[in-house]
Each structure stands twice: as structure tokens, then as C-alpha cells.
Amino acid sequence: MMAENDLLAGLAGQDEISLLDILDHVLNAGVVIHGSVVISLAGVDLIYLGLNVVLTSVETALRHMRLEEMPGGARE
């Protein structure tokens, strides 16, 4: 498994892209599959995850919350 520093060194050629940009992109951009997965530990089902949005940045989460608070629950 590569360490974080090795990964960043590998991206050094992309001088226009910072770590923050990368995180922002992988967490906020792209297609979301509507599905679900059960996380198990030692054969016991522990957590059910709805996979509309599993993990996102604070900015995106706030944007979605603001949209849902709008009259009619408008969405992007």
C-alpha cells in the first residue's frame, strides 16, 4: 500500500492540482449509484448504508441541505 507522501510525490507533475483540489473532486464530483451495502464485522451485519451520498465535503452537504430546505424541496 502506498503512503500518502508517495502518492503526493507521484502527483507532483500536476503542479496545478493541490491535495485540497483532489479531495474536493473525488468527494464531490461524479456519478452516484443509488444502492446499498451492509457493513459486517466478524460475520455479523452491523451497518446498513444507503448509497445515495455516503461521504461528501461540508460545502456540498450544506448546499444539498439548503436546497432541501427550499419550498418544494428543490434538488439539483
Partner: protein
């Protein structure tokens, strides 16, 4: 066995797969309905949580960039985990028409981004003396931001096929869709203008995820 999905490409795209993905797992692919979808296997649902999140995100990004350097793609949002290969194939079959059309439209395109931070007033450490002063300050900053966006948009104009922008908590995010072979010229033009705009920062090229037109069902 759960899968971590990376991205979709046109099946005809001739690309070499990255050797390893998140957690050092092998990057694999399925093909169906004219689409090619890349993924890696997770030994269990909790495997992803064992790897430090930043490290996983960077590995994910590296897989995308390796593939994007060879052909157009539509990324999945990290971490998109599906139950198994059958679930991924089902997804491809159900959405093949729309994703194939979008991949065709964006095949030779790249996305560049400019983040413009709202300027701060001189002596911004002190509170405005009145509500009117506060509102006037906000109006002034909003106008400066609008002018900066317009200046950048015009500078990149000759190469931009589509332009989108949205306000963020700290300023404005602008997204430009342009042909891959125009990226260098666009970067030079934006750099020349942004020297006079200290709050503007350019990044890219990225896969054109902001311009994928998929209606939520």
C-alpha cells in the same frame, strides 16, 4: 464481494489499466452495453474504513488520472461501493444509453476550474460601523467578484465550449469545458489574466464531471 467503482468509459476506448487501485488492490473491469467500467474488490464492507481516508482518496484520484490521460471518462463519486459485479453490470445496462451519449459528447473534452476567493476589505479585522457600511462592503465585494469572473471568462473564451459557475461560501467556482488539445492555451490565457486577480486559482485538467447531464430518477 463489494466493489469500489472508479469510472466508466466507452468500451471502444483503448486504454491500459492502472496496476493497483485503492488499498493496493488490483484494478479490474467489466464491459457491457458499449461501456467499460473500472473497479477494485474490497475484501469486506469494512475494508475501506481501515485505509486512511486521504490515502484512499489519493489512490482513487490516481486511478482516474491514469485513465483520463488516455481517454474520456465519467467518474464515480468516491467512495461508490456496490454489492458485487452483478450490481455493477445491472447499473451499466440500466443506464447505458444516457452514459454512452454523454461519453460520446465529452470524449475529447477536459474540465478546467477556477476558484475565485472573495476579496477582503482593508482593515477587515474591524467590524463595520453600521449595517449600511456592512451591506455596502458586501455589495462592493460582490461586484469585484463578478468583474473578476467576467475577466477570466473572456480570457478563456476562445477555447471554452461551456461555462458554469456557482457561488461557494468563500467566493465563486467556475468550470470551463474545453477540448483537451486547448488546455495549454487556456492555462496560459488564464494565468496571464489571473496575475492581476490574487484570489483566483486555476486547477485541472479534470474529467468533465461537472458537465455530465444525468437527470436523477
Amino acid at each position: 464481494m463489494p466493489l469500489l467503482a472508479y469510472c466508466m468509459m466507452e468500451a471502444a476506448a483503448g486504454v491500459a489499466k492502472p496496476v493497483a487501485g485503492v488499498g493496493g488492490e488490483k484494478v479490474e473491469e467489466v464491459r457491457d452495453s458499449g461501456l467499460r467500467c473500472f473497479f477494485s474488490r474490497l475484501q469486506s464492507g469494512e475494508e475501506l474504513s481501515r485505509i486512511p481516508a486521504v490515502e484512499s482518496a489519493l489512490s482513487f484520484h490516481q486511478v482516474l488520472q491514469t485513465l483520463f490521460s488516455q481517454a474520456g471518462l465519467i467518474p464515480f463519486r468516491f467512495p461508490t461501493v456496490v454489492e458485487d459485479e452483478q450490481a455493477l453490470l445491472r447499473f451499466l445496462r440500466e443506464h447505458a444509453a444516457v452514459y454512452s451519449a454523454e461519453l460520446g459528447r465529452l470524449r475529447h473534452m477536459a474540465q478546467m476550474e477556477i476558484h475565485i476567493r472573495e476579496g477582503r476589505e482593508e482593515g477587515s479585522g474591524s467590524l463595520p460601523a453600521s449595517g449600511r457600511e456592512y451591506l455596502e462592503g458586501r455589495q462592493r465585494r460582490a461586484e469585484e467578484l463578478k468583474a473578476a469572473v467576467e475577466k477570466l471568462r473572456q480570457a478563456g473564451g476562445p477555447w471554452v465550449r461551456e461555462w458554469r459557475q456557482r457561488s461557494s461560501g468563500q467566493g465563486m467556482r467556475c468550470y470551463a469545458l474545453l477540448p483537451r488539445d486547448a488546455v495549454d492555451a487556456f492555462q496560459q490565457a488564464i494565468r496571464a489574466v489571473s496575475q492581476s486577480l490574487p484570489g483566483a486559482r486555476l486547477s485541472g485538467p479534470w474529467p468533465p464531471a461537472e458537465f455530465v447531464e444525468i437527470k436523477d430518477s
